[in-house]
């Protein structure tokens, strides 16, 4: 069992020329990836590089449009999650998929429980084997305990035990340390070592450079759905990896028009939230576009939502033109002149079933009604004004918003907020998932708003967009403002270094 010459000779699992497209997006464009037995391969890339898509391809959730997946050199396909499991590929997800009401043993063996001769589940064998597996990874858990009584770290152990129970040869760990404490992370590293010793090939997806350098043997970098490079960790430096991650010029054309930056409009001082963010302080000027960059989960949207009254900060003050404004509800935010165009338009933006014009006027009904009664003609006129400004393509404003394309729905949602005549507009990932043409229109429009003296905050994970559109950029990391960049300091490298915490690490090493 120890001697394993065939596996040592080549990768256990290899992907070649994988292409996967979604409407309007080429998520993966001819990527390759190789995983070797007994080694940890780190997959590195920015948000949107295609890491999650790879995980879904390997676990049978998506099918590649082109390209070849090979296990031990033999071509395979994973039409279902079960097929991937049978081939020995298993994933431990960011939010681990487990069942709260079942026991540890049941969670480990769900779908492939040992059976008695009568075809019933052999509970004793299941418990015993679960106990064996848990012991083999050094987990001190009672197989009969209910999952809901366990903490997040124990759940990870159960997920890993589940992976081992199906005799996995390839283990995918997608940001496994994101929700763990320092002690739990150390235990996870030990576990990764155990899995390596057992000869598993491990794909480790992480944003954190310190842990990549600590536990990975090999690296692969993706950028914008393309394979950029691979190699051994021993032969690479942090700086080289960062360059590979961002290595592109800002070649897309952004129609940023120079706007006169005016007086301070919005001042946020010491905003804190018990669990999401801490000590957020910044000033936003009229006519300015302020970019907020960071990794997914850095707390950018959460800060914006509290500025907009969706959640309440535990501490801190918000001033508009020097006057303190208490924003506890969205209605108060709108009144104070702050509006927020959310990232998830389907869930948070468009009210399907209502016609376009009624979607536009939803937050402005106080203005379009008289003595408590709506005036439809007035609503229609307001909606027409703003949708025309955004060049909305719709047969009629009386049409259900659900019938519009994603880009046009985005325009309706933006029109809805502009119709409230705001002074600060917060756009959360304004061009995510929309086609190139609509993107240009949204960028153009942002420029126009700034030129009119509005203050714009743009939360974006796309570096070219952030650099192309912003006058200034804040980078958030783990719920804090990590850095501020202006002028020539606004480079892709600086943004990424601040977002992944490289600079902070340096300081730590120096001290």
């Amino acid at each position: 069992m120890q001697a394993d010459p065939p596996a040592a000779a080549g990768p256990v699992l290899s992907l070649d020329g994988i292409v996967k497209t979604f409407p309007g997006v080429r998520a993966l464009d001819g990527v390759r990836l190789q995983l070797h037995a007994g080694q940890v391969t780190a997959l590195i890339g920015e948000n949107g590089a295609g890491k999650s898509t790879i995980v879904k391809l390997l676990t049978g959730i998506y099918q590649p449009d082109e390209g070849q997946i090979r296990v031990d050199g033999r071509p395979v396909t994973f039409p279902t999650a079960q097929a991937a499991g049978r081939a020995g590929v298993t994933a431990i997800h960011q939010e681990t998929v487990l069942f709260d009401e079942l026991t540890v043993a049941e969670n480990i063996f769900i779908g492939h429980a040992p059976r008695t001769r009568l075809g019933l589940i052999d509970r004793r064998a299941m418990r015993d084997r679960a106990g064996d597996i848990l012991r083999s990874i050094g987990a001190d858990l009672d197989p009969a305990a209910r999952l809901r009584d366990l903490g997040i770290a124990s759940r990870h152990l159960v997920a890993i035990a589940r992976a081992l129970s199906i005799d996995a040869r390839v283990v995918i760990m997608d940001e496994p340390t994101a929700a763990l404490s320092h002690k739990e992370i150390a235990e996870l590293y030990d576990l990764v070592e155990t899995l390596k010793a057992q000869g598993k090939a491990i794909l480790f997806i992480s944003h954190k450079f310190d842990e990549i350098f600590r536990i990975a043997d090999r690296w692969t970098v993706f950028r914008d759905g393309q394979f950029v490079g691979e190699g051994m960790m021993a032969d690479v430096t942090e700086a080289e990896l960062v360059n590979l991650m961002v290595g592109r010029s800002v070649d897309q054309i952004f129609p940023k028009r120079p706007a006169r930056i005016g007086a301070p409009l919005l001042t946020v001082a010491g905003y804190c939230h018990p669990t999401e963010f801490e000590d957020i302080t910044f000033t936003l000027h009229a006519g300015e576009i302020l970019g907020f960059y960071g990794l997914v989960g850095a707390g950018r949207s959460e800060v914006m939502q509290s500025l907009f009254g969706i959640t309440q900060p535990s501490k801190g003050a918000c001033r508009i033109e020097g006057q303190v404004r208490v924003v506890r509800t969205t209605a108060q935010a709108v009144e104070a002149g702050i509006v927020y165009v959310p990232e998830d338009r389907g869930r948070q933006g468009a009210v399907k079933g209502l016609p376009i014009f009624q979607n536009v006027t939803l937050p402005s009904l106080a203005r379009t009604s008289r003595a408590g009664f709506l005036r439809l003609a007035e609503e229609f006129a307001l909606a027409r004004d703003y949708t025309q400004r955004l060049d909305l393509r719709a047969a009629s404003l009386d049409q259900d918003i659900a019938l519009l394309s994603g880009g046009n729905q985005q325009k309706v949602v933006i029109a809805k907020w502009l119709a409230t005549k705001p002074r600060v507009i917060i756009l959360d990932e304004p061009t995510k998932g929309i086609d190139i043409g609509s993107k240009a229109a949204v960028h153009d429009f942002m420029s126009e708003l700034a030129a009119e003296g509005l203050a714009v905050i743009m939360v974006s994970s796309e570096i070219p967009e952030v650099l192309g559109m912003s006058d200034r950029v804040f980078v958030m990391r783990e719920g804090r403002l990590a850095a501020e960049f202006t002028g020539t300091a606004m480079t892709p490298e600086n943004l990424v270094r601040a977002a992944v915490g490289l600079d902070r690490q340096r300081e730590g090493e120096a001290a």
Binding site: I310, T330, A333, V351, G353
Partner: protein, 323 residues
Amino acid sequence: MTLLKSREAILALAIMALLVLIASRFPAFVAPANLARVFTDTSPLILLALGQMAVILTKCIDLSVAANLALCGMVAALMNGAGVPLPLILLTVIALGAALGAFNGVLVWALGIPSIVVTLGTMTIYRGSIFLMTDGAWVNAHQMSAGFKAFPRQVILGLPVMAWIAVLAVALVALLMTRTPLGRAFLAVGGNPHAAVYTGISVGRTQFAAFVLSGALAGLTGYLWVARYAVAYVDIASGFELDVVAACVIGGIAIAGGSGSVAGAVLGALFLGIIKNALPVVGISPFWQMAISGAAILLAIAFNAMSRREPGRIILKRAEVRT
């Protein structure tokens, strides 16, 4: 939008077809005087369906309406026995009904309990309160004043007051739905609660308002019911809440919220009312009547589900990718 309109048009056509079918066997049924009688008989169902529609639009359900009706009806009867003048009784039952609805609404809003659980509980509480008030005793016709009993039956312009009240309520709720921010909020909250929050509409407060409306209408109907049938006891209108929900469902009010109209609720109630009145006339047993109502509900739901499916959408997306 055209889909919604057509759904109501289809229901109207179904009602016409039903009337033609009944008329072919029993022509007297469609005489204007009899149709007016059927409408009057259906008025309580219409009144409650209007309130239930608002509640269902906001993704809730109010199972306590019939119990609310019975409690308010009993209070009206007792107040009449104590010699309270009718206008004051009317105001009291509307306010009491609204308060009972508000109690439902507060539990849903502040505590976030699912409305089906809340109203299942309050339904029993409201019925139980009637028993506590009366020890199970009935208030019979001879204990009610003549004016109290006569008011709903008074005929104005060919229709009794009870029917006019239903017409007025339909008009007012239609106005509320199409011409006020609250009506818009009912649709927005049910259509997309997340978006409603981001727009500054409080989901809980909107649901609360729907429960208050439903309760107030139930309270008013409580008086009408007791006065018309000239009797009040613990079990009046027992099980009526299911007829009310059925009327809404048949009328195309989406049980998932956010979609539906006043016209739909009224037509749904009329459909049930016509079946209930026609079957005995045609000589079909009341058990068939229940089966027919049940079949109508299933048909309505199947129709709604089918009209919501979007055929070919996924295939089209794939085609888009290939090109």
